[in-house]
Structures are given as C-alpha cells and as structure tokens.
C-alpha cells in the first residue's frame, strides 16, 4: 500500500540563486497542494550551510511566497491534504537518501505542534517505512541528544539515514 503523492517538478539553480550565498542546495523541487482552500505552490529544499563538510542535510519545505521570494513554513494551509503533502515529502526524503546513502537528513517542524504532527504521522505509517531506514529523535531536554525513535516520547527533531 502506498499513500497518494503529488507530482514534483525539479527547480533549477536560477530558482534559488539567492540561497547560494548561504547554502549548498543538494536538492530542490516544487509541487502544488490542491485542496479545499485552493492551489498553493510548495517548495522543498535539501540543504546544508555553505562550506559545511559534514554529511548532514536539512530537509525544509513550505509555501512559496511569490512576492517575497521566500519559503514560508509557518503559514497553515488547512487545505485538507496534509497527508498527501507529507507523503510527498517522505518520498523525496527516501529518494534522496537512496541516492546519497552516506547522508543524514535532519527535519524539525516550524513549531513543536508541527514536530509532534510529523512524529504522529511517522508512527502511524511505520509499516510503510523501509526497514533500512534509521530514524533518530532528538531530545533537547537535559541534553539527552538523539535516540532511536520510539512511541510515547515527544521529540524535538528527527534525523533520518540509511542503515
């Protein structure tokens, strides 16, 4: 069983030139959320700081603000399709890790509520997650750090990599 996903379109360097002052963009694409409130362009970026040599990459996505030319990860679309959006993001993440097996992907919600939502969806669809995917959760409280993802704990961020 697979979840429905949106069709993605790769972005070219000219679409995110301004980021290149600060970031190394390993992957960039867009797709359109289509739902009860209309159509919205979302952009997904897999990035690391410029001149950063570690194999950690940030997974970031949000609604494209065509006036400011920025990605807004705070706005709530309430478009009734968040599962399809998350399935699309999950598929992009897996494809990236398969193409870059030594990389680790870091993901953190824009708010604690969103991070919890991502955790709930990961837990709910655990059976769809490939066995070779390792997911760690971050606990900032008492400087615990990253531990293997487990239910019943609220994590602050996630780190995905292949085993």
């Amino acid at each position: 069983m697979t979840l429905p996903k949106y069709q993605i379109q790769q972005l070219g360097t000219s679409d995110y030139e301004a980021y290149l002052t600060f970031l190394d963009v390993a992957y960039a694409c867009r797709f359109f959320s289509s739902g009860k409130n209309g159509d919205f362009q979302l952009r997904v970026f897999i990035t690391r700081p410029k001149d950063y040599t570690d194999v950690y990459y940030n997974l970031g996505f949000g609604v494209w603000n065509s006036e400011k030319h920025t990605v807004d990860d705070v706005v709530e679309l309430k478009n009734g399709d968040f599962q399809q959006i998350l399935a699309t993001i999950a598929s992009i993440s897996l494809d990236f890790l398969e193409a870059n097996p030594t990389a680790s992907l870091y993901a953190e919600g824009s708010t604690p509520a969103r991070t919890r939502l991502y955790q709930r969806e990961i837990t709910r669809h655990r059976h769809l997650i490939p066995e070779n995917l390792q997911i760690y959760g971050l606990i900032r409280d008492k400087d615990v750090g990253f531990i293997e993802l487990q239910p019943g704990i609220n994590f602050d961020a996630f780190l995905l990599s292949l085993k």
Partner: protein, 51 residues
C-alpha cells in the same frame, strides 16, 4: 554633464545594492536558511549516535 551621468550611475548602483541588501536580509530570515543554520548548530551540540 559627465558629473550628472556619474551621479546617475552611482545612484543606480546604490539602488541596486539596496535591493540586493534587502533581498539578502529577506533570504537570511527565510525559513530554509534559518533552519539549515539551526541544523548545523544542533548537530554540533548533539552528534548523531554511532551505529
């Protein structure tokens, strides 16, 4: 005349720079940029567990 032309170019350059600075400032606060920098700080403090 030439000083007017120079002034005009200089003004144009200044305006372009202002626009670029404004865009850079906006990009610096863009969620993709801020979260990527935050990731680097987080992983420096909390390294990935050894397998």
């Amino acid at each position: 005349m030439s000083s007017t032309a120079t002034k005009s170019v200089s003004k144009g350059t200044s305006l372009r720079k202002s626009r670029e600075d404004a865009q850079n400032a906006e990009q610096k606060t863009d969620s993709i940029v801020t979260k990527t920098l935050r990731m680097a700080n987080t992983l420096e403090k909390y390294p990935k567990p050894a397998r």
